[in-house]
Structures are given as C-alpha cells and as structure tokens.
C-alpha cells in the first residue's frame, strides 16, 4: 500500500489540476488566467532546472537561453502565414514552408533547445562549479547577441510580436504534469541515483562505473528540453518574444526557486515556483498604486536570505516530503 503513495499523489495532482484548469478557464478573468499560466510555466522551469542544478549539481545559468531557443523556434513555426509579409519581409523563402500546429511546434522547440544543449554541453561540461556558471552565463549573452543580429528571422531587438495566444491553462497544466512526472521518474530510477551520486562525490561515482560526461549531458539536455517547451508556452502566452526577456535576471529567478525549494526536491521546486510567482504578483497593485516599484523583488530577496540562514538546504532539502511520498522511503 505505502509504496503506491507517489502514484496516488500523482493521480490527485492530475485530477485537481484538470478540475482547477476547467474551473479557472471558465470563471476567472484574463488577468488571473495569465497569473495561473505564469505560475505553471515557472513550475516547469524550476522543476527542469532542478534536474540540472539540483540532482546533478551542475550550476547552470543557461536556462533562459534554452527558453529563448525553444520560444523562437515554436513562434516561427506557428507564425501565421498571412502576417509574415508584414512582420518579417525579409524572411527566407525556404523557411516559409515549415508551418506546424502549436503542439508539434512546441515539441520541435523543445528538441531544438535540447540539441543546442547537447552542442553546448560538449564544451561547457568540462567545467565545474563557478566556471560552469560563468560559461553558461556567456551562453546567455551569445544567444541574446545572435537573436539581436539575426534580424531577418527574429526581427532583432524589436522582437517577434503578434503571436497567436495559444497558451491556456490546459496546455500549461498538461506540461506541468508531464514535467513533474518525467523528472520524478528520473529521480527514482537508477539514472537519477547516479545523477545524485555524481553530485555527491564524482570520483566515487566514476569508480563505480557511472559515466560522468554522459550523465551530466543527459541532465543538461533534459533540462533544456523542458526549458524550450516553457519558452514556447511563454511566448504564446504574452504573444511576444524579445531577446531582452531572456536575461540573467530570469535565470536568477529560476535558481532562487530551486534553492528555496531545496536542490533535488521536486515538490520543493513546485511549491517555491508557486510562492514566488504569486508573491511578486501580490505586490504589483501596491507597487502601481503607491509608485514604489520593486517591493516584490525586495520581499523575494529577503525571503531568500532568510531561507539561506535558517534552512540552507531549502524547504525540503533533497527529499520529497512525506505527504507526497508516504512514510515508506526507497
């Protein structure tokens, strides 16, 4: 019985998310819908970054760059043909023939991001710790420069706007479920254990037959895939993509969610993503009415400092809490 607890938790999550999406899609106004979607996208981002940074201990700052790759690919594949002459007059002819519905376009975007991660990983994963962080930060800058200058395809700093608003709570909930399920399955498999082993002691892991490079690449690639998906969802939620959106600040925000939730804890990432998105959103009326901008960020930063002082390993550490797992731990 106890062993099935995670399965029940998953079933409860799926059912409640479906009901919740249905209710909110029919009852709430656009503002609330947008917040719900942002929360969901942040969950996808935080959980997938947790796979890279949390499980495997790769301090990657590159998540927004993978988001950008996925977002732009998805946007270009779904861009309405009739708008193309107006928005993208110099768009290469041969690319015109590629047009896909939203879901396959998202998948292609995710795979594109994963492929970029594979290429980047070959060189960057030779580095560790701070060096890896700096190298992935450089990768964000490279992507931004590329997006700014490839203006026949991306419209440069103007950004791609006028995208269709495909993203709704159903899509977002669906991807939240897929991301959480896959990351959960990975965590409690032999592969997931080897990822944690690489994080804890790479020499010992290597001596036991774990291939360090392929384990690290896998973590980066899967993380990047979901970042690409999140990028696609994000673009079609706010119906615009600009190179400036995918900045270091965004990377910082996602990392804060992972650290506060607990590096390695999926439940922690989900909760932290919800808390942070809602906190920042709650302070928005205050900021606008009284003209004190940035209060949300300050509160978030304070919260981070407090967590780091009183619970340095995050809310749940590496564990999944009992209310999800049951008492029986593997």
């Amino acid at each position: 019985m106890e062993m099935n607890r995670p399965r029940y938790s998953l079933a409860i999550m799926i059912i409640s998310l479906t009901v919740f999406s249905f209710l909110i899609e029919n009852m709430a106004n656009d503002y609330i819908l947008a917040i719900v979607c942002f929360t969901g996208i942040n969950i996808v981002l935080a959980v997938s970054l947790n796979l890279t940074n949390g499980f495997t201990g790769l301090f990657s700052l590159g998540h927004p760059a993978f988001m950008a790759v996925g977002g732009y690919i998805t946007a270009l594949l779904t861009f309405p043909a009739e708008k193309k002459p107006l928005f993208l007059p110099d768009f290469p002819q041969w690319l015109d023939s590629f047009h896909l519905p939203f879901f396959p376009a998202l998948l292609v975007g995710g795979c594109g991001a994963a492929f970029v991660a594979f290429l980047v990983g070959i060189s960057v994963l030779r580095l560790k710790g701070h060096y890896l962080a700096v190298a992935t930060m450089g990768f964000i800058i490279i992507i931004q420069v590329l997006l700014n200058n490839a203006d026949t395809i991306t419209r440069g700093p103007l950004g791609l706007n006028g995208l269709e608003d495909f993203t709704n709570t159903y899509w977002v909930s669906g991807w939240v479920i897929v991301t959480v399920y896959i990351c959960w399955k990975i965590k409690f498999s032999s592969l997931g254990r080897s990822m944690l082993a690489v994080r804890e002691d790479e020499m010992a892991a290597n001596a036991l037959g774990v291939n360090l490079f392929s384990t690290r690449s896998f973590a980066l690639i899967v993380g990047a895939f979901f970042a690409g998906i999140a990028g696609g969802l994000w673009g079609h939620l706010i119906t615009a993509l600009t190179p400036g959106s995918f900045s270091l600040l965004m990377s910082f925000n996602i990392i804060v969610m992972v650290v506060v939730g607990g590096t390695g804890s999926i439940t922690g990432s989900v909760l932290a993503a919800i808390i942070f998105t809602l906190t920042i959103e709650c302070f928005r009326p205050l900021e606008e009415n009284f003209g004190i901008y940035g209060v949300g960020e300050i509160v978030m930063a304070l919260f981070l400092v407090l967590v780091l002082i009183f619970k340095p390993s995050g809310i749940f550490g590496t564990e999944e809490p009992d209310f999800v797992m049951g008492k029986h731990k593997p």
């Binding site: 032999s190 254990r193 804890e200 020499m203 010992a204 001596a207 036991l208 037959g209 291939n211």
Partner: protein, 240 residues
C-alpha cells in the same frame, strides 16, 4: 589476473610513477605499501581508469586461462563492467543518499534480478547497514561509512576489488572488523589489491606485497618475508 607492465604516469607536469611493474594472481591479496607521495593512490587510479598511463600496459585476465585484455585505454565504466571495482580513498559515500540507494548506485551497471539478493548479503555482512538502510549515508559514523563503501564496491560483483586505505581515520577495533571481512571476501574468490599506510596490518592480511618509494617499486615479495626484512621493519613497521 592483473599485470601492470612498466607504466609511467604523469599528473599534470609531475612524473609520478616510473616504470611500475605489478603482478596480481587469481585469488591473491596483494598489498601496496609506502610513504605519503610514493604513488600508491596514483597506481590504483591508473588501474581503475581514472588516470591514464603515458607509457606501459595494464593487462587484465578476468578468468584464468582467458586471453588478457589491455585496460589502460578503457574508460572507468568499462573497467568496472569488466569486473574491477575500486573502493575510493576517504570512503566517498554519497552523503545525501540513503544507505540502500548508495548500494544501488554500486550496482549501476547491472540490470539483473540478483541485485536485491546482493543487498541482503551486504546487510548480512554488516548488520548495522541493514538496520540503518533508509537513513542518509552522511549520518553514519566513519566506520559504518567504510562498511558501506566496501559493500557498495561489492555490488558490482567484482572479480578484483581495489581498496584505497580502508583503515583511514578509523578506530583499531573497526579496522579489525573490516580486515576480517576482507579476508572473508577473499576466501569467497575475490582477488584483492589493497593500499595501506598501516603496514603491519597490510602485511598481516596480504599474501604478497609491493613497497613503493617515490614512484618506483623498491621491494617486493611474500608479505611474511617483507615483515621480517630489517629495512622494512625500520622504515614502515616501527621496529628498531
């Protein structure tokens, strides 16, 4: 079983090992002793593929009578797959993983149905690990962590078990337990190559031994002979 032929190893620009020759026969316990910096750990890491020799060969014969394979160019995971398992220096348990998860990582390259049975036999060997199987490995005492590291390296079902300083920082009583267990593991057919600072215990346990000095094999022979060698007694055994 394992023949190291004339290997030279560099770590960065430092030439650490000079023409090391070692031979490990099937079923033997071989000890490598020597002072700090003599190259013991480097030798082990080279055998398990974590370092690459710049010259020389490492020939490994998994079963007597079979053709030897050169493992000096193989990746660590291939070497583990071939039946050589190393228990690293300083134990290297995965602190945040539970005891059982640590053992499962040890069986990373296996996918057979015997894994659970092997976990049980590690628990039989060290009952304390069975009692604490769901606890984080970081919460174990030093001696228990050593038992876990030893059990974990047995999970890949090695034919050759390599141990790097199993007695490091442990109480004498626990060292005795560990060494008694090594004796038992050896009697079940696992060949053992052990590096030790504690030369008295190492010579007592092993059949043959090699003495390393500044990256060269200074002496080798039967452990009982080495234990009575006046030079060894003076340098390593503290006998005046």
């Amino acid at each position: 079983m394992l023949t190291v032929e004339n290997i030279d190893v560099h770590r960065g620009k430092t030439h650490v090992l000079h023409q090391i020759d070692l031979h490990v026969g099937h079923g033997e316990i071989i000890a490598l002793i020597g002072a700090n910096g003599a190259g013991k750990t480097t030798t082990l890491k080279t055998i398990s593929g974590l370092l690459r020799p710049t010259k020389g060969k490492i020939l490994y014969t998994p079963e007597a009578g079979k053709a030897p394979i050169d493992i000096s160019t193989m990746a660590p995971e291939q070497i583990v797959g071939a039946g050589i398992s190393q228990c690293p220096e300083g134990r290297g348990v995965f602190a945040q993983l539970s005891v059982k998860e640590n053992l499962l990582v040890g069986a990373y390259l296996r996918s057979d149905k015997e894994i659970e049975k092997d976990i049980q036999s590690v628990y039989e060997m060290f009952p304390i690990l069975g009692e604490r199987s769901t606890q984080a490995a970081g919460k174990l005492s030093g001696g228990q962590q050593m038992m876990l590291a030893l059990g974990r390296s047995l999970m890949s079902q090695p034919k050759l078990l390599i141990l790097d300083e199993p007695s490091l920082g442990l109480a004498p009583l626990i060292i005795e337990t560990i060494f008694a267990m090594l004796q038992k593991i050896n009697s079940q057919g696992v060949t053992i190559l052990i590096v030790e600072q504690n030369a008295v215990m190492a010579l007592d346990l092993s059949h043959r031994a090699y003495v390393l000095e500044t990256g060269r094999v200074a002496l080798s022979g039967l452990s009982s002979d080495l234990a009575s060698n006046p030079q060894i007694q003076k340098s390593y055994l503290g006998v005046e």
